[in-house]
Symmetry: none
Subunit: 246 residues, 2 copies
DNA sequence: GTAAATTTGTTCGTATGTATG
DNA sequence: GCATACATACGAACAAATTTA
């Protein structure tokens, strides 16, 4: 299925960029699989109703992102497949990534201690003003930034979280060292926004691009909220997959 | 909180558009409330490091979207705040998006017959070239357009789908008349994209805004795919909520 | 193995859109 | 409104690498 390709020439978005986005969406959507060959530039130019140069620029942008590779005389090929991120009761980023043969890594990019405001006290079921640890993390697969996440946890329950996370690169491991053996997802809220500057820099996403925003609450085995997270996902590289009814 | 902004001059997105998106994000984010006055153009020009002409163009775009109103001599004011519409535990996503069945305030905005391409034949498990019915629907809540959906079904299995849908306003009913008593959701994929021109018009969303894209497959009771749907949701008005007990 | 066809890569020129001052 | 600089888009031609007949 080729995605609808009506180009808008007065929206303040360059045509080559609109074509780039369309192609990327088709790759993420699965119409163009990893390893498959793109139609020739001349054919794409006809399809989009533009000059071949314009298609070439879109391809060049995708090439510099590592999504395509062009071989003179042979064609242009899809080099990276989209990462599918399945959410469910036992969502673990590292499990998802490694099951798709990619090397997972989480990096701590910041942390602070702050008091619970109304939203956080409600989500974590703690009194207003409770001291919370806030950690900012960047999750990378195969060297490609995928997710920027901000998590809040009750400081009293995980006093050494920042140190343990920095050592292991894994929240699961850090929580275990605080005596929390396992946890499960309570609820997940999903929406889309335009990327903010800091996230754009962290994710290597262009300004004006959309990100998936996933807000979630994790419960310990006693059903008590342990972690509230607001994650921003590079939408052009990821897709959430939910099995069964939604 | 003003959203910090580094402008990119060769990203294929015009500077006036980057400024427009930044201002819109601040309005959506609540920094600029409805009725409040924008800083003067000259001040915004300084803040963004651009010429006043460029700021004016961004403001003009927001004015034509009905978000701002400029009064000569007085200033520029925020005239509309975005509304939020949450899909929660009480609102089944499937009821709203693909099936549009039990509460048929969905409207048929188009239909056609086409051959299955690689993606569709894979999703629906039919041979390449199988004749499919494609239906386009628009879902409106409280008079506000929320979702544009495109569904494909095998024509041989539901030859009178369009007529039956038009009569009943319900895909469930139309499927029953084709002998398909019930169906269930197989899988849902979620990603975010920039809105396409046609969807922007249908949804009343500004170009350059993100939409949630939800792709889903429905199975009949024998486990055979019956319907593949690709729905686009106005992300600034909606939020998907997934409960942990999937 | 060679020639032709295909496909990407490069270089001109021209016109239009965007942003500044 | 006007002059300037740069980015974007188009068109034509040709070169280089590869595949196909």
């Amino acid at each position: 299925m080729t995605i609808n390709t009506t180009l808008d020439r007065s929206a303040g978005i360059a045509v080559w960029r609109q074509i780039m986005e369309t192609l990327k969406a088709e790759i993420v959507g699965g119409s163009l699989e990893k390893g498959s060959r793109l139609p020739p530039e001349s054919e794409l130019a006809t399809r989009f109703g533009v000059n071949r140069h314009t298609v070439r620029r879109a391809i060049a942008a995708l090439t510099s992102e590592g999504i395509l590779r062009a071989d003179q005389g042979r064609g242009t090929f899809v080099t990276s497949a989209p990462l599918n991120y399945t959410i469910g009761p036992r969502t673990r980023f590292s499990e998802i990534v490694s099951s798709q043969d990619r090397a997972p890594s989480g990096r701590l990019i910041g942390s602070s201690v702050e008091e619970a405001d109304a939203l956080l006290s409600n989500q974590l079921e703690v009194p207003l003003g409770t001291m919370l640890i806030r950690v900012e993390t960047l999750r990378v697969a195969d060297g490609v930034p995928m997710i920027v996440g901000t998590s809040w946890l009750e400081q009293a329950r995980v006093p050494n979280l920042v140190r343990d996370y920095a050592e292991s690169g894994s929240i699961t491991t850090a929580l275990k060292q605080a005596g929390i053996e396992d946890y499960k997802r309570k609820q997940t809220k999903i929406t889309a926004e335009l990327v903010e500057l800091r996230d754009a820099q962290q994710l290597g996403v262009g300004l004006g691009q959309p990100v998936l925003v996933v807000e979630s609450v994790n419960l310990d085995m006693a059903g008590r909220p342990i972690q509230y997270t607001r994650a921003r996902l590079a939408a052009d590289r990821m897709q959430l997959v939910v099995n069964g009814d939604l």
